[in-house]
């Protein structure tokens, strides 16, 4: 268990370094671990369900 946690710690750090190395001036990556949404506020980038029209709900 401890080793798995150690692996996750090292892996998490490795991910941050790789994430920081990507070119953010280009469109966001489709592969979500490396996209720019890790630093976007949900209210700015992710409209709430009722704002974009939830499935099965008629838009007025």
């Amino acid at each position: 268990m401890d080793s798995i946690w150690f692996l996750m710690g090292c892996g998490g750090f490795f991910w941050v370094v790789l994430w920081s190395l990507r070119d953010f001036s280009k469109p966001t990556k489709r592969f979500w671990p490396f996209d720019a949404r890790w630093m976007e506020r949900p209210t700015e980038s992710e409209p709430r369900r009722w704002q974009r029209g939830a499935p099965g709900r008629k838009r007025g």
């Binding site: 150690f6 692996l7 710690g9 949404r37 890790w38 630093m39 209210t43 704002q51």
Partner: protein, 488 residues
Amino acid sequence: MRSVLFLCEMLALLPIVVARPFVGVLIFSFISFSNLHRFTWGFTTSLPWVYATVILTLIGCVVAREPKRLPINATTVLVLMFLIGITLTSMVALAPFDRVMTKWEAVAKVFFFLLVTAALLTDRYRIHALLWVMVISLGYYGVKGGGFTLLTGGGGRVMGPPSSMIADNNHLAAGLLVTLPIINYLRMQSAHRIVRIGLLAGMILTLFGVIGSYSRGALIGLTAVAFVLWLRSSNKAVTGVVIVVAVIAAVSVMPQEWKDRMWTLQDAQQTDSGQSRLAIWHAAWNMAVHRPLVGAGFLGTYTQSVIDEYAPGTVPRAVHSIWFETLGENGFPTFFVWLAISGVAVLNTFAIQRESKRIPELQWCRDLARMAQVSIVAYMTAGTFLSLSYWDFYFTFLVVIAATRVLVREEVRKSRAALSDDSGWRRGPLPGMLQPGLALAGRPIVAGQIPGARPQGGGVRGGAVAVRQAPSRPAAPGRPTTRTGRDG
């Protein structure tokens, strides 16, 4: 096996540092804050990772084309002054010279690298990456300690990594308290729901880790953090309920032994721990008063001969207070410089909030400033009973705040320039069409396009549209109102 894994990771990352020195900042921070290499239990435990990183980063700073600039601001000047101050006080320190130099080397390394960090924190992405590394480094122990506390019912103490600044349970608890608001900041800033849930779970477990440390100083710090967090939150009702429920849940898990220990806070001055703390604070104060310009130097309170001179009968030990430690070791001038670093950080947070108020894109700066205020209060409160005066994590965070302030200033300057450029009749929006903070956002307003206007009658999406009235309804909060042409 862990050694091999750690070695592979470092061998993969260190060569990158020469080309991308900011990676060196991330590696330095990760190793310094987490000390994860101490848990490899192999040959990698004792390898000089930090020195290798520092050397490669400095080479990278010279060789690489990566953006870098050392901003001359109050924080960097004060860090430089502090470096000079501790160097001077170490030269006239009263403790054995070799021990003083060892301590000086450790502290000077931290503060020197703060300048390198400040030079390389040039944009939001880097700030965010560094904050993630900080959270992973301390959250590693917070989540692990919280899980340990839950599984054992508070049966054991949560300790920090060996041979580090947060090895002691009290130090780790204070560190986790400082980290909690940063985790909350990252939680607020991620658009990924799973990440937000994961960070919330991490915060709760870290809270359990703080409680499970059995640190009385941390309990006082936790009270202060909870209060300031509630004070600085936007939704006070929900935040208040969440904090109260989380603290009650965490305390209810702990055994009677923990409650008995915390109960001693009522008459802290009568306990052995309280008495010895007061005695050593008195000794540190005496050192500062008798040597006001330079103090006793590093490790003065640990040295029997120094203690005998300034507070006979006191047992040499750690000062257990950031205030008295810095004052006794370095004297008043360096103490005030040290204090001013935090003071400037507090002023920076208020300035960030004030200056970025009209710029929607800088909401993240305001969030960071609010959470930074909580972290600073956590350090000041919990640190009153701990020897964490030169804690690299905290001072790196202050440098992050200073870098954020620089970014805010630049953005405000750009916005003002854009506003003055757009004041002409050709390019400027019509009166009444300027949404608050729109032009200030610094985004170019393309001629012929109306910010926020929706194409009508099958108009081309994002294309030029005829001049018409401003949108009658405000844009939905979830939409990027300032992105001309993408809304429609």
